[in-house]
């Protein structure tokens, strides 16, 4: 019983760590993009609109990170399920 509850705690902690890492990476990417946006507008107020590539790449990277986080989170859950099933089989 003690083993089991420590297993639940371990799983919850590992999950929280993964979530924090994914969120931190996404935040860093957005922050970098925001700084670039502000810099671009400093030089030309229409900069981000005029240079479509800038916006497409910036927006694309942010979306990729958001969706990548979803995939990574799903993958981790699947690994946890497999691990739990293996322990159960033993």
């Amino acid at each position: 019983m003690a083993d089991e509850s420590s297993e639940i705690v371990r799983r919850a902690r590992a999950r929280l760590r993964l979530c924090l890492a994914l969120a931190a990476a996404s935040c860093a990417v957005l922050l970098f993009f925001l700084v670039l946006l502000a810099r671009s507008v400093e030089q030309d107020p229409l900069g981000p609109l005029r240079d479509v590539r800038f916006s497409v790449v910036g927006v694309g990277i942010n979306f990729a990170f958001a969706l990548g986080s979803v995939v990574a989170f799903g993958y981790w859950r699947r690994m946890e399920r497999t691990r739990a099933a293996q322990r159960g089989a033993r």
């Binding site: 089991e4 005029r50 942010n62 986080s69 322990r87």
Partner: protein, 530 residues
Amino acid sequence: MQSPIAIALFVTVIVSTLLITRWAARRTHSRSEFYVAGSSITGTQNGLAIAGDFMSASTILGVAGLAFSGNSDAVLYIVAPLLGFTIMLLFIAEPLRNLGRYTVPEVVALRFAGRGVRGFTAAAALVVTIFYLIAQMVGAGALIEILLGVPYSIAVVVVATLMMLYVAFGGMLATTWVQITKAVVLIVGVVVMTVLTFRHVDYDLGSLYSIARAQMDHVLTGNRTGALNSLFSTLSLGLALSLGVCGLPHVLMRFFTVPDARQARRSIIVAMVLIATVFLIVLFVLSYAAIAFLYGKPEFFDDAGVLRGGANMAVVHLSRLLGGDVLMGIVSAVTFATILAVVAGLTMASAGALAHDLYAQVFRRGTASEAQELRVFRFATLAVTVVAALLGIAFKGTNISFLVSLAFSVAASANFPVLMLSLYWRGLTRRGALVGGAVGLVSSTGMLIAGPAIWVDVLGYARPLFGSNYPTLIALPAALFTAWAVSMLDARNRNAQAQRTFDGLAAKSQAEAAAQGCANGAGAGCAGAP
């Protein structure tokens, strides 16, 4: 611009949504059915409803309007919310589903018994939803005025009456299906406009951007008043739009409508994919098409050279250019449906906070019967409707995206920190949550009022007291720091009982993960798992 097609389609939207409401009203009797549709909505349906709830008038009209008027903030409004949905998926959706039943303040109140924190979180939820409602009312009034020739104030009253009917009679079930219907027609509408735009430029996206760039060089001078013109405002608005999503009561409330945490996760993923798709199309196709095709066409501008109905109407004019009165009618009806769906969700959240949290729990201390609470819920719906209509009329002409950013600022500064700290920080005390949340709420609304958009533009003073319209970069850290500092000083409340409450809730919030291990045969110890 009164087209019979547009009028017919508006009437179709109104009749269809009222039929949905009548259908839902027959299936909605209990409190659970009223507030959360009996938690019977599937993850995919809820994802569609979240997308319908979130993609408001600011998405369709406001972002394109910003780009059309040369304001690069449009890019920011598209990018930042996606981070919010990621954070919601990683940290909020599951605990909320596992802990709550009807409203978000209820989840915070599980940690801190008593009326103070619950009353505060309900009040903060009300402030956010009212700001958001104003934006939707302004969009609806402008749209109906320009398309049907109905005076702005009457248009606002019509929308307010419809939202009251959906919520007061159909509850969450009607709201959900109005939102699902809206999400589907919105996606179809946006895709049709995209195809027609591509056809207009012979399927050469490069030439669309070339024409748009040429128009920018000749017509647009660039807007030097947007958030992107200072690093502080950029970061502040980015923070508000991303973390504010996680504090929007009408979006968070949707997690209570699904049966379990798994469906809550699925909801977010479906919603994220749909929202990302529509956002990308609105910014990278429709906004550029509006810039490329509308400038230089005098029929879309008034004598003063201003776009008829204001920049917010750029997408509607674009639809007329691409597909004549038929497409304009369809797009207008889709936008109208969008507004109706969002206001229904907002009214649901604010009436729920008034009836379930403030009336039943704070004032009646849990002694109100289900029938009394539902009666108050209907009165609350009426009250919210009246307030929203009056404020919608008062804020006529204000940019919709800016109004939405106000709601996000308060949500990010007041709701988000209290919710996150309650879920994840063991050291938070009741006093810390209350004071920290109050600092976030008061500082964000205070700085918003003292900022240029309200202090100068609305109240008529010469100089703003606070130099930016975006206070989140100050208000959110201030709320977090205050919550931390007050909790640390409040040693008396950090007792063993409070720690046990947190541990119990933390275990319950992870209930599904623990149960999953048990379901996979992890051992006899699972009997002790929450």
